[in-house]
Symmetry: C2
Subunit: 406 residues, 2 copies
């Protein structure tokens, strides 16, 4: 994974301070250690799911689904996988009905994932599905040790797996939360962790990624009032759900009141897919308010060498310059052209290049974004790991629910 920054920064002192703070955080924040974990218990568990199971359905929302979905949708077009993954992540009745119509319940294993063990959406859906299929053997529960969900699962005799300590939902993709569904689908989770670990070592071992991530984080933090929208512009449809994962990670981590002030700060994440969004959001970046930074993500080798055929269409000869070009080359030329266009407009940008679509590269990319999020959070003086703003709505809903007279 390469990351080319098109903006310059010195500020060695503030960079070094942030690095020291993040090194300290490793003692209290659980996600840092995930790349080195031993996955043998997850692999052993995976073997207990019979081959007759063709579908894995995750019942979970937010941090309990976005990570696995991002990785699954990234890898799926390039690899014949063992099982299909489905995600129940909405209380929309049409969505639940449509998803269920695709599943043969006899060939489906359900993973019910809830850190707290009491997520409203997850349990509404679980109760409904349980009324259709009440065999405890087709459910596995993933939750915090000691949660009411753990006790429930034990009581009905279903398998329970645990989240590691001090790992928040949106930083949990490389824990059981993401690894269990991915392992069951046939994705190489060791390669995923190895990719993350390589990036981790490059950062903490003062390699290439230390300098790059620190420079980028300081730039975002210093300019967070001016450039307060941070776009990812990913040139591959395979990265669509990675963008959704990024939006949660960035938005929920970095939109907060400051520790030492009454001031609300926040960096707004936007996920774009090229070349499609050249025909949508690009105009706003080029000519709209100057409040956006952009990170381009390119895939060097798509391992799918379909080529634009050497056909000249009458009256459309102006398009002959496309002939014999591999699509993978075209899409990357489109990305390069937009980078050049934005540089002419002085839009702050950088580009990330990954060699190909595989688990290792996705592990590295996700760990890169987790580190960047932690660094920026540290630099803008907020608690990166809580989400107090979502509680008010939950309390109001609870009141509404209990006051329903039925």
């Amino acid at each position: 994974m390469k990351n080319k920054l098109y903006f310059k920064l010195k500020n060695k002192k503030v960079q070094e301070e942030a690095f020291i703070a993040i090194k300290k955080e490793q003692k209290t924040i659980g996600y840092y250690a995930l790349p080195e974990q031993d996955i043998s218990s997850i692999l052993t568990y995976s073997e207990t799911i019979p081959d007759t199971i063709e579908n894995i359905a995750v019942i979970g929302i937010g941090g309990s689904s976005l990570g696995a979905k991002a990785i699954y949708e990234f890898i799926k077009p390039t690899k014949k996988l063992k099982r299909k993954l489905y995600f129940f992540e909405s209380t929309d009745p049409l969505n639940i009905t449509t998803l269920l119509s695709k599943l043969n319940l006899k060939k489906t294993h359900f993973l019910v994932i809830s850190k707290s063990g009491t997520t409203i959406e997850t349990f509404s859906i679980y109760k409904y599905i349980y009324s259709l299929q009440n065999n405890p053997k087709v459910y596995t529960f993933i939750t915090d040790p000691g949660s009411p969900l753990e006790k429930y699962a034990q009581e009905i005799g279903a398998t329970v797996l645990y989240l590691p300590k001090n790992v928040g939902g949106r930083f949990s993709v490389l824990s059981t939360v993401g690894l269990v569904p991915l392992a069951l689908s046939g994705i190489n989770i060791q390669a995923l962790l190895d990719g993350a670990n390589k990036l981790k070592k490059s950062f903490f071992g003062a390699g290439y990624m230390k300098d790059t991530l620190l420079k980028k984080a300081v730039f975002y933090a210093r300019h967070h009032m001016q450039y307060n929208i941070n776009c990812i512009f990913a040139y591959s449809e395979t990265l669509k759900y990675f963008c959704e994962w990024y939006v949660q990670l960035w938005g929920e981590s970095l939109g907060k009141r400051q520790h030492h002030s009454a001031f609300h700060v926040g960096l707004t994440p936007i996920g774009l897919i090229g070349p499609k969004d050249q025909h949508s959001f690009l105009q706003l970046i080029m000519e709209g308010t100057r409040n956006k930074s952009v990170t381009f993500i390119k895939i060097e080798d798509f391992q799918d060498e379909i080529v634009i055929p050497d056909i000249s269409l009458p009256h459309l000869e102006s398009l002959d310059s496309l002939n014999t070009l591999p699509f993978s080359k075209l899409i990357n030329m489109q990305c390069e052209s937009v980078i050049e266009a934005l540089l002419e407009e002085d839009i702050p940008l950088d580009s990330i290049t990954i060699s190909q679509v595989n688990e290792s590269n996705m592990g590295a990319l996700m760990y890169y974004y987790e580190l960047l999020t932690s660094l920026v959070g540290e630099l803008i003086d907020i608690n990166t790991y809580d989400q107090p703003g979502v509680e008010t709505g939950k309390h109001i809903l609870k009141k509404k629910l209990t006051s329903l007279s039925r």
Copy 2:
């Protein structure tokens, strides 16, 4: 369709000026007249496509695909449709290969949609598909009269349909561009237009929507520096692609240099889906920088009365308050709870309620957003209908393509 505004505004004079300007625009801007069009030629054309065709594949990007996709994905969960729609809208080779693997070419009709007739993405993909299937009878082309594509289509003996005059890509959903694929899939396009027309009459006939839209547009325009991110928070998965359509419409229309100044202005659109994004973006709205407005969209009646069963789970009795609740009621209570939470934080918001998932409501909703876009564009002194910012990248790509020595 109801629209409740939670912010107050007087400014009768500026509202009336905008209304007069928009009334004038009807003479030059084509989309305003689309709801009243005669669709008999589209229906006659639809009858020429044989029943053996099971798939309609749209080859088009941006305004040529987003509108039809939004409506198709909205209606699909509620109605048994005649044919499936597929959208080729990326030069990503993995995406092209994956989509083609789902299509039986013998049962597929292709709609090649390009206003200019020379869109790079569309013709790269078309050339590739044409090399696999070169029967001109399975292609229909939609383009501007007089474009090189029209001549090409006539030369190979394929059907050509035309875009109406002065209708830009992102405002073209209710023209042939959107109506042809939708009619072929079995969607009731007359009901779609009727819904749009009802909204149009309410606005131009000085009904309920005139007052509402003008108030909302003036609020957005007056505060476009402070609240420069405008979120849609739609409580149904069926509205996911409507959000993508909105992002293009809003972003590409309203990100511009002002007519009478050198100043860049722009309003940033964000599409969110509830309740999922309560677990993602909501924290940023509640506690982040105060630069966002939110429009909630609710569906009153999902016509799918699945209910949370009356099951009490041991150790999880706290969730019993959910029992016997229809999911449609739960999701709307979730929406209401978040509205109340945001109102406590003084976030500017409004809510749109549509009665159910059908063509008429989607026609109204889209026309509502088109009118709102035109009004805000008028009020912030920009050209709502051009997109000069996307040209630079295109020119750079063209140069790169012609300089390739192959």
